[in-house]
Amino acid sequence: MRVDWNPTNYQFAWEVVGQYRFWLLEGVILTLKIALVSMAFAMVFGLVVALLRMSPIWPVRTLASIYISVFRAIPPLVFILWMYYGVTLVTGLNIEAFWSGVICLSLQYAAWLAEIYRSGLQAIDKGQREAALSTGLSRTRAFAKVIWPQAWRIIIPPIANNFVGIIKDSSLVGVIGLNELMRQSQIATSLTFRPFELYTAAMVIYIVLTLAIARMASILEQRAARSLRVQTRRVPQNAPSIRSAA
């Protein structure tokens, strides 16, 4: 007995993907722009939050920890809509859609990244810092020259996971009218009535982007490993990784 895998006799029209290739390319470019800018902000801000989270002053520590809990708990889609439609209405600020999206993704990913930084930094034996301080290095220099290079190597993989996450979550900013890859495919679909072909193309593109990031991460990791022959203590894998979009 033959199982019909295409019971509706659907006639594929893959040529629409070719016809809309520049349209999709535009979407990819905006997706990458949003993801890169958000990731850059999130990496810097996340490190600040991580350092505050480890502060010896308890109110600072508590504030950082509240920040992390709150921003990890909000679904990104809700946050984006709230920021673009809600906050602009209340404050009268006219924030561009691009920056609304970037602010939301940065703030949320900073919270995830902060916990990754923290786990990486805490995995470094405190004797390392003491040794550096005992030779007269300042706390800042001890961090920059001794702690950070060791922690960085450990956190490359989870950071790359978050970059993948930010690319996927960038598909949500389509709802506020940003023509990133997801929204471009959506518009093309409404013009051609070819959802299968166009969304397949979008998925393939997301997969390619993800694989490219994974490749870059492993190159970075190998480079870091070359200068750090010894296996530092592994970070417990409770560090957040890829999350599904909204």
Binding site: S134, T135, G136, P149, R153, V230, Q231
Partner: protein, 257 residues
Amino acid sequence: MSTVPTASTDALLELNNVHKSFGHIEVIKDVSLKVRKGEHVVIFGPSGGGKSTLLRIMNLLEVPDSGTVTFQHRVYFPHSGNLLDKASRLQQLRSQIGMVFQRFNLYPHLTALQNVTLALTDVKKMSRRSAREKAEGRLAEVGLQDRMDHYPAQLSGGQQQRVAIARALAMDPKLMLFDEPTSALDPELIGEVLGVMEKLALEGMTMVAVTHEMGFARRVGDRLVFVSGGVIAESGGKEVLTNPQQERTKAFLDAVL
């Protein structure tokens, strides 16, 4: 308890009436100790007695709750001045005091040579070239001239500890602190580290060593300090080992010898 420290002229480092608690546990109870230039002080005693904490107070890796820490007639604790001032004074103190740790604490991402040059270029602001020359000299002194480009993971424990000693010596310290430098070593590797320490002592380096190596204590120690329960229970010359006055010292020595 709050006597004004009267630094005698020959004291390099002076602790006066130092107290330190961790939580509710007082680990150092009103300890005063003077280290003279060229002197070799050996601190020994049961674990948990406060030996390491006492040593770490000397370069203020551990900040005491009260008392004074004086180095070369300058008071480093209690701090005065603003925060920036305090940080730079701490750096100044530590760059003059070398410390060797029980678990070596070499930087795993740097070669033996880079481990030694880091503070030279960073703290002493030496050029990379002269830092390198100096580091090579120090590593040669501890017998590691052919291991300079190795990473710590490629070295034995004894070699790692000798790199750590070279790292501390490269700063031209006026005082060396050793915190159980041989406790993490395999028995056959202890000798090479003790050998380097004895050579240093012979060259006149001022040192304070926390150690369980009673043979080393007997050979090198000018002053033996028995620390137990957060206080200096007994202190003196080699007679502390041969003819202890306190029951606690006697019991400890009976157990380890």
